[in-house]
């Protein structure tokens, strides 16, 4: 499905009664089956945008439209969370089957689908473990398995690899590329890593500081299927430098704003 974000604004009330505008009149379109990365300075409202797309909050102004026939059996979106959000008292398999459980899929079928997705993520051996028994990387593999097993139209990923160590992150990025090449879901992937965005995305949307707007959209030129070798492409370095130039001032401005307590 195509996502049209049309002049969306979102703010929060401050303690002193005034309003903090986080997302300010943001417009962009994400095509069906496109992999889009969103980067922006910290605190710029990336997560607020994700909450809006995930149906957890409604915009103060403008609207978000999901356009096209429903092709998946599951919810409109499913989120892969930065801190995994696995249910601690459930086994990994029961976590992965949670989305199916919510829409009344019988237990036997749930187990089957869960096992399929656990195998796809290479963690079928941990089906009966509890989340706290797994490493961060394993937990996020389970998080991705849950999101895909729910069979959404759109996959929303909120800095999914920010909490794992650098080596594991590399593995997870490669695995995501592989898995995505099979599923081809529409993906909106939030990150603060320029390299990650260049490796994964068809298109990169650069957001500015609060109130967030789209600063620039860049098409990533590397062909698919992609591997880590894109990092050796001279265009990679060039784009990286360009994106950092875009982000640098905004990041500094965000740091100043935070130091002044304007959160």
């Amino acid at each position: 499905m195509r996502i049209e974000i049309d002049n969306v604004a979102k703010g929060y009330p401050r303690a002193d009664g005034s309003r903090l505008s986080v997302v300010g009149s943001l417009s962009t379109t994400i095509e069906a089956q496109e992999f889009v990365c969103v980067i922006g300075p910290s605190g710029c409202g990336k997560s607020t945008l994700l909450g809006l797309l995930g149906g957890l909050r409604r915009p103060d102004d403008g609207e978000i439209r999901f356009v096209g026939e429903r092709t998946a059996a599951g919810p409109l979106t499913s989120i892969v969370w930065q801190d995994y959000a696995l249910i601690p008292w459930r086994s990994i398999a029961d976590n992965v089957g949670f989305g199916l459980e919510l829409r009344g899929v019988p237990a036997a079928r749930r187990r089957e689908v869960a096992r399929e997705h656990l195998t796809m993520m290479g963690i079928e051996a941990f089906a009966d473990n509890k989340p706290h028994e797994l490493s961060g990387g394993m937990r996020q593999r389970a998080g991705i398995a849950r999101a895909l097993a729910s069979d959404p139209e759109v996959l929303l990923m909120d800095e999914p690899f920010a909490a794992v160590d650098a080596q594991t992150r590399t593995l997870l990025q490669d695995e995501l590329l592989q898995v995505w090449s099979k599923h081809r879901k529409t993906v909106l992937f939030i990150t603060h890593s320029i390299e990650e965005a260049l490796l994964l995305a068809d298109r990169i949307i650069v957001l500015g500081p609060r109130p967030t707007r789209v600063v620039e959209e860049i098409r990533v030129p590397f062909p698919r299927p992609r591997t880590r070798d894109v990092e050796l492409d001279p265009r990679f370095t060039e784009l990286k430098r360009h994106l950092w130039a875009q982000l640098r001032d905004a990041t500094l401005a965000a740091e100043w704003a935070e130091a002044k307590g304007d959160r």
């Binding site: 989120i79 959000a85 696995l86 249910i87 008292w89 459980e101 919510l102 509890k130």
Partner: protein, 286 residues
């Protein structure tokens, strides 16, 4: 790459050095004596030692027997109370009061606590009522209960119920409020409705806290029952303790105290077992 290593400089003979080397004392594993005392049966050793000192002190005349009769005499009194048929029916009566009071307090408290955790309207209406009644020592309202419910078992059961109500309601509410907000967002994103969030996320998430409240409530139900029996009953173990104090049969009094202690120990152990059995996952998070 070659295996060439970075050349290092020789240390000069007079260069000062701080050494961190093996310290056998720091790494010593717990010895046999410590292991024995920390084992299940070994943990009884301090108890036995205290009892033995008491027994010895009493026999040697170091401790006043009128206040502290020797443990052996208390055991003898216990056996006599048991064989005369006085003890068991009273234990049954007390146990029944504890159980009834506990259920009377805990069931509505848990339901109300969950409702308070889920709805800020219920919370804003009920919270002030709890805040002003919680600090009242519940035993102080026993006369009121006697007026309302007459004498006999009923005011005691109600007393035990009221006293076990508070920890259960407070723990149920805070358990529901402390459920990880991210899990609720996660479920909502995947299409969960309010009922599904309640049954699949909130209640299981709050269960350890709810159960902690229930454990406290069980202990307090015992406390309330015994206190009620001291003051307002002619049967039950508590009334036996009180009566033997009044007629100054101190060994019998100690025997009934031991029975009450055993009941408390039983309650604590059973509930702790249940907790460990069902809530082992609470040791780790998401």
């Amino acid at each position: 790459m070659s295996e060439q290593s970075v050349p290092t400089r020789e240390r000069a003979p007079d260069e000062p050095v701080v050494r961190y080397a093996v310290d056998p004392r720091a790494e010593r594993p717990p010895g046999r004596g410590f292991k024995l005392l920390s084992s299940g049966l070994g943990s009884m050793v301090p108890v036995v030692v205290v009892l033995a000192l008491w027994q010895g002190g009493s026999m040697a005349g170091l401790i006043d027997k009128t206040f502290f009769p020797a443990p052996s005499e208390c055991v003898q009194a216990l056996v006599e109370l048991f064989s005369s048929g006085e003890l068991l029916p009273n234990v049954g009566i007390t146990a029944q009061r504890i159980l009834l009071g506990f259920l009377l307090g805990v069931i509505p408290a848990t339901l109300l606590g969950i409702a308070m955790g889920r709805s800020r309207w219920v919370r804003v209406l009920i919270d002030p009522l709890i805040a002003i009644t919680y600090p009242i020592p519940v035993v102080a309202i026993l006369p009121l209960l006697l007026v309302i419910f007459g004498t006999g078992g009923r005011p005691i059961v109600v007393l035990a119920g009221i006293i076990s109500f508070f920890p259960a309601v407070v723990n149920a509410m805070s358990g529901v409020l402390q459920v990880d907000e991210r899990l609720i967002l996660m479920a909502r994103n995947l299409g969960a409705g309010r009922q599904q969030i309640l049954w699949k996320i909130v209640l299981p998430g709050a269960l350890p806290s709810i159960f902690a409240g229930i454990r406290l409530a069980a202990g307090l139900a015992l406390l309330g029952t015994i206190a009620g029996e001291f003051l307002a009953a002619s049967d039950g173990v508590g009334s036996m303790t009180w009566r033997y104090w009044q007629i100054y049969q101190i060994d019998n009094m100690y025997a009934t105290l031991a029975v009450i202690a055993a009941m408390g120990f039983f309650l604590t152990t059973v509930t702790l077992r249940v907790q460990r059995r069902f809530f082992s996952w609470t040791e780790g998070q998401s």
